[in-house]
């Protein structure tokens, strides 16, 4: 029995530490200048060890190996994407990968995945730089994008098929696919004490969700610009 307990303990320790050691190892070995389409094995000496325990054997050592099974989803549906979310999240969190071009391609302003024929969309060089910051925010800030990140909602969840460019905003209809219908949303957000202080049913009529809800920066309650004494909170706010 005692032995058995030991085995369990060892198992727990393994579960707890294996990924961490793998990543810290990867971080240590992360090369300073990663070249396009580089191999995963630059950081992960043992690729299989970096994968979930029951993951089937991988042949190949770059992103192409993954996408043969994990096909990139270009439908732009407003729904969670577990695989892509996880892949981005772990790499950003560990700080091991700041270079998108390890897995992605960027030729003639077209953004794609190496080894994959189709393109994810068009993107300017400046916007490509912004995406890096946005992914950092998405993976661990207090902003609305991080709230979506926790639910495995990636860029396309809000921005559909086409990559957004500077100044684009998400239309209400897109938000309402998950958060609607509007009447239900209004009902959900109706304060019990003062039903007419409902931010989704205000005297300003139908306004853009993005007036208050900012995905990649701090959200603010627009009402408070005049009604300074209202006690209102917003997800992704300060």
């Amino acid at each position: 029995m005692k032995r058995y307990m030991h085995a369990i303990l060892i198992l727990f320790v393994l579960i707890a530490f294996t990924p961490a050691t793998t990543f810290s190892q990867a971080k240590k070995d992360a090369p300073k200048n990663v070249k396009k389409g580089a191999s995963c094995s630059i950081c992960h000496k043992d690729i299989q060890a970096a994968l979930p325990k029951n993951h089937k054997k991988v042949t190949g050592d770059n992103i192409s190996a993954c996408i043969s099974c994990h096909k990139p989803d270009l439908t732009g549906k407003a729904e969670p994407k577990f695989y892509a979310s996880n892949l981005h999240r772990v790499h950003i969190k560990e700080g091991a990968l700041k270079e998108c071009m390890m897995c992605h391609t960027f030729t003639a302003n077209k953004f794609g995945i190496s080894g994959y024929k189709g393109f994810l969309g068009k993107l300017s060089k400046e916007d490509l730089e912004k995406i890096k910051d946005i992914f950092v925010s998405w993976s661990g800030s207090k902003n609305t994008d991080a709230i979506h990140g926790k639910a495995n909602i990636l860029c396309s969840g809000c921005h559909e098929k086409n990559l957004p460019s500077t100044g684009d905003t998400v239309e209400n209809d897109r938000c309402l696919i998950c958060h609607g219908p509007l009447d239900a949303l209004k009902k959900r957000s109706e304060p019990k004490d003062f039903p007419d202080r409902n931010p989704h049913n205000s005297h300003l009529g139908d306004i853009a969700c993005t007036v208050c809800h900012k995905a990649h920066s701090i959200s603010t309650v627009y009402c408070l610009g005049c009604h300074g004494n209202f006690k209102m909170k917003i997800p992704g706010g300060q």
Binding site: S165, T166, G167, D168, T169, D193, F194, D196, H203, L204, G205, I207, A208, T210, V211, Y222, G225, C226, H227, G228, N229
Partner: protein, 633 residues
């Protein structure tokens, strides 16, 4: 240090040309660090003779003179002026070195230093970059003077980016009629312009449409409408003329009568237009508001300005007008003092954009009640501590942009306080409209001691000052249930207001006094006295004109609402004519430039009467839209 002097003899035909040459040359002050000062004089007696003084810290070749002087001379030759002379001297020596002259005659002229048209120094530029908005506006005025003399539009205004600003080389877009602001005036203008086939685009800097209009109290003064409520409710007589006279009197006759006439004569038609084309709905009530001598104030069903902005938006969009949110005006393009508005520079979410304007620019950008520095610059008594009923976007930058291209302003010191705002935040919420709408039906104002302090039918400025002089915040309106629907209110609103603690209810006056922490005896005494005044038809304390529609406070339940003044409306603004064309500081129309609504001045004089704002905006917005559409492309 060197002083280089260019003396120029010209004739009246060349006057504008020469000013252009010198104006262009004066920009050098910003680029050449050795140029200390650029002075520009006109002859006192022969006004088309000029003298230019250039003060140099150092000159490469004092014998030859400066490049700038050569540039000026080349410019002069180019426009056909040959009578000029250039002198140069070291500043501490009195010996002038005559360098070049094509006309010896001019040297004998005496130049008066009194008529200084333009002077610019490095020092003043540096201080200007640090100055406050007040100084900034002064600088703006200075530019206007220059504009009028034809030198250039933007010479002294380094801090306003003007001196460095050159017309855009290419335009990103061309639009027939550009309207700035999506409130009553902007929407009405867009609707009328669109109806006449012009492509109208509204630029709105805020992320939501409607500005102050959508949160406005929703009351509209008109002598009549297609509903004929006054006749229906048997509330006496009225006429556009009577409305005209009340408005002038309420504004202490500072108003420009032609503009008031537009308002009072166009109000009923504009109201019918919103009812017929926009589906606007009015409550079955009509009130007599402070300063008005008749029951002419209509209330929209929604009880808030949205009840008017939505119909207006509907009409505007029906005629193809487009509202662009998050689009902020950052400059108005105009080339010269006689020329038209050429376009605008706009900050959009996608970056800066220059829009060429085909027909006209209409400024409908509202007032500056939330521009603390600006309001205090013109009226120091409006201290920052005042709350405001306005939305955060009510700032005055569009007035400054208009000034920078020569527009005249008037009445900027006249700033209205809304006497009955919510005391804590200054907002004009639904309960805050009751004190305004109730007075024609016998609602009274009392202070914390339970005493009346003003004739409730007085104008807003009088009611506000009476409260401020009390020195005790807040004051209260007292009314009873019987008045509620008559004044255009509803019991539903009363219930909601009570839930928020805004309306206080008492079955008796004593109970109400107790809840308000007002001395019971005082309030009872005040109410009784006032009831007696109504019966006698005479207010012995404040001489309020008593009408038959006024109800004595005898039957409960009674209600109270707390109130305190907050900055509400800026009467002053751009000078326009009766066609809503913007006028420059020399009294000339600025071609292709219109303005309507609170951004303009002169309609309301020193004090706007309540419920005159919406008819002002809608009527003048329509006029602007109609005229703009008729401009040639």
């Amino acid at each position: 240090m060197y002083l280089e002097t260019i003396k120029i003899k010209t004739n009246p035909e060349k006057l504008n040309d020469i000013k252009d040459v010198l104006g262009e040359a004066s920009r050098q002050i910003l680029e050449d660090s050795s140029l200390l000062k650029f002075e520009f004089y006109r002859n006192f007696t022969v006004s088309f003779d000029f003298m230019v003084n250039l003060y140099w810290i150092d000159l490469k070749d004092p014998q030859r003179g400066s490049d700038l002087a050569y540039q000026v001379i080349e410019g002069l030759k180019h426009i056909g002026i040959v009578n000029y002379a250039v002198w140069i001297r070291e500043m501490d020596s009195e010996s002038w070195k005559h360098r070049e002259t094509d006309s010896a005659k001019i040297l004998n002229k005496t130049y008066s230093m009194d008529e200084e048209v333009f002077m610019k120094t490095k020092e003043s530029d540096e201080t200007k970059t640090k100055i406050t908005r007040r100084g900034f506006l002064k600088a703006g005025m200075g530019a206007g003077v220059l504009a009028a003399t034809g030198i250039a539009l933007d010479l002294t205004k380094k801090d306003a980016e003007a001196a460095q600003r050159k017309l855009p080389k290419k335009w990103d877009e061309t639009i027939d009629v550009v309207i700035v602001g999506s409130g009553f005036a902007g929407l009405a203008a867009a609707a009328e312009a669109g109806k006449r086939g012009a492509k109208a685009v509204i630029l709105e800097k805020m992320p939501t449409y409607g500005g102050n209009s959508i949160i406005n109290g929703g009351v509209y003064a008109a002598w009549d409408s297609k509903l004929h409520l006054r006749k229906k409710l048997n509330l006496g007589d009225d006429s556009p003329q009577q409305h005209f006279e009340d408005t002038l009197k309420g504004g202490d006759y500072y108003n420009i009568p032609a503009l008031v006439k537009n308002l009072t004569e166009g109000a009923a038609d504009a109201l019918n237009w919103m009812i017929e084309e926009g589906g606007c709905k009015l409550r079955e009530a009509l009130t007599r508001a402070g300063g008005h001598s008749a029951y002419r104030t209509h209330t929209v069903v929604e009880g808030v300005g949205r009840g008017f902005t939505e119909p207006l938006r509907k009409i505007a969009e029906k005629y193809g007008a487009q509202i662009r949110l998050n689009n902020e005006l950052t400059w108005i393009w105009r080339k010269d003092t006689d020329g038209p508005i050429l376009g605008v520079e706009v900050k959009t979410p996608k970056g800066k954009k220059n829009i060429k304007i085909k027909k006209a620019l209409i400024l409908a950008s509202g007032g500056f009640s939330r521009d603390i520095k600006m309001r205090q610059a013109f009226n120091p008594s409006i201290v920052p501590e005042y709350n405001s009923t306005n939305h955060p976007g009510a700032t005055g930058e569009c007035i400054r942009y208009a000034q920078a291209v020569g527009a005249d302003t008037l009445h900027l010191a006249f700033i209205q306080l809304y006497p009955f705002a919510e005391p804590e935040t200054g907002i004009l919420d639904n309960p805050a409209v009751y004190p305004f709408n109730g007075v024609g039906y016998g609602l009274i104002y009392v202070d914390k001691n339970g005493k009346r302090f003003v004739n409730e039918l007085e104008r807003r400025d009088v009611c506000s000052m009476a409260q401020i002089k009390l020195g005790q915040k807040p004051t209260y309106s007292i009314f009873n249930e019987e008045m509620v629907t008559k004044m255009g209110g509803s019991m539903d609103e009363i219930q909601k207001g009570m839930a928020k603690g805004r309306f206080i209810k008492g079955e008796t006056i004593e109970e109400l006094a107790e809840k308000l922490k007002i001395p019971k005896q005082n309030l009872v005494e005040t109410v009784n006295k006032h009831n007696q005044y109504l019966k006698d038809g005479k207010d012995l304390e404040f001489n309020k004109p008593i009408t038959k529609a006024m109800i004595p406070l005898e039957k409960g339940p009674f209600y109270a609402v707390a109130q305190w003044p907050a900055v509400h409306h800026t009467m002053g603004g751009l000078r326009i004519n009766e066609k809503t064309q913007v006028i420059d500081i020399w009294g000339k129309v600025i071609p292709k430039f219109y303005a309507a609504g609170e951004v303009t001045g002169g309609v309301h004089g020193s004090n706007r009467l309540g419920s005159n704002a919406i008819p002002d905006c809608v009527v003048h917005g329509r006029i602007a839209g109609i005229n703009a559409a008729q401009e040639k492309g």
